[in-house]
Symmetry: C2
Subunit: 247 residues, 2 copies
């Protein structure tokens, strides 16, 4: 009756890998695109090293992670952008529950992340969303018949030093919308999104902050203001002083 293709074991097996809170935390941490050691992941997830080892073995066997041994360290990272997209999609599917404010420290960190961060290998947060808006406003992008680069958009990328031609033809889509957790609106992913993120860092427009957070440098403010982003969108908002205040 049931065909192999509709047998749910494959799907269930893959989903089961992400169905554990600890493994899910690992994957979300790895969404920053870097390789983490087993010990680092154990600490962020708050579990014993032995537990971590078991989870990582599973995730690697399941193809979600790839590992690289260096001396006594075990580095793991997401297997490829497709896996990152899968996790983004799953994580973005449900609205984040209204989060209780815990401390000034945490609130400051949250504000920095909400402002600008990396999402696997591209820019996210308010910065990422506004960047996409600006590119559309300037007609460097169009989403009339699906997201696409315009002629002037290609020229702009070339001027910036992004080799657009090399990005074409890969298995990865050139442009992709990725739903932003904090903004609830799309930011720019895909090969171009990743290339822009790299290039901004190379040009010294952005620098890495704490964790996945990203800060815009003075040079970046100048450049991005020229693109049409408001200066106020380029610095983190002060931390929310608390819930009970005025609505």
């Amino acid at each position: 009756m049931t065909t192999a293709a509709s047998d749910g074991h494959q799907l269930a097996g893959l989903a089961a890998l992400l169905a554990d809170p600890t493994r899910a935390r690992f994957c979300l941490a790895l969404l920053d695109g870097r390789a983490w050691t087993a010990g680092e992941l154990a600490r962020v997830a708050g579990v014993a090293p032995s537990t971590t080892s078991d989870h990582l073995t599973r995730l690697v066997r399941g193809g979600l992670l790839v590992e690289e041994r260096q001396g006594r360290h075990r580095y793991v990272r997401l297997a490829d952008p497709a896996v990152a997209q899968l996790i983004e999609d799953l994580a973005g599917h449900h609205p984040p529950a209204p989060r209780p404010v815990r401390s000034l420290r945490a609130a400051t960190a949250d504000a920095a992340l909400a402002h600008a961060r990396t999402c696997y290998d591209h820019l996210a947060g308010r910065l990422g969303v506004r960047l996409r808006d600006a590119l559309l406003d300037r007609r460097l992008l169009t989403d009339a018949d699906g997201l696409a680069l315009t002629r002037t958009g290609c020229d702009w990328l070339a001027d910036l030093g992004v080799p657009v031609e090399e990005l074409r033809g890969g298995r990865r889509p050139l442009l992709r919308d990725c739903l932003d957790w904090t903004e609830r609106r799309p930011h720019l992913a895909g090969a171009v999104g990743a290339a822009l993120c790299r290039r901004f860092a190379q040009l010294g427009w952005t620098v890495a902050g704490v964790g996945r957070a990203v800060r815009v440098t003075p040079a970046g403010v100048t450049a991005l203001t020229g693109l049409g982003l408001a200066p106020a969108e380029l610095t983190p908002a002060p931390p929310d002083p608390g819930r009970g205040g005025r609505a």
Copy 2:
């Protein structure tokens, strides 16, 4: 240390819904886009009605399914196209294991599904993949800077009786690639993919076969051959006579 956004419970909770083989089978069955009764799902999954009831309640509470009660029947369907895409992506992520041939009956059914079927609300299988290829060959579509309709593509759709303008501006992307399980290459999804599937059926070019299978009518053969598809691609291949034969 960890922020609310990086707490894995949301992600894990969603994944857990799909991490059970029975629930996964339900979701794969529901990928045909129709509403199924609880009893039908119980039969395809091979579990007791009481078990089914529990699973469905969970899936509805989790937002993956929506239900509609009609008399003594409980109809469920996928909540929206975003859920369908999520399940497609998860299911398509892993290569289907080489499947053992079970019987002539099953092999025939498999061949029919491999030939042409619906995938949620658009065409899949060899037919779906070749259709996308043909549209690209004819320059009705382009994927130079992301998948997009060309001017002639818009005209062709209008001639066909597909109201392209009404499809724009929805929350659903106009065009989207969806990895085909059997062909391992993309077929056409998104609003246009769904509209084409509906329109083909309205025009009498396709009719529903067993389950999710789709058959191309003589009128459909004429029309699609005109688009550049080979006649041999429009009929199911004979069932694979077995494994051990010549490679």
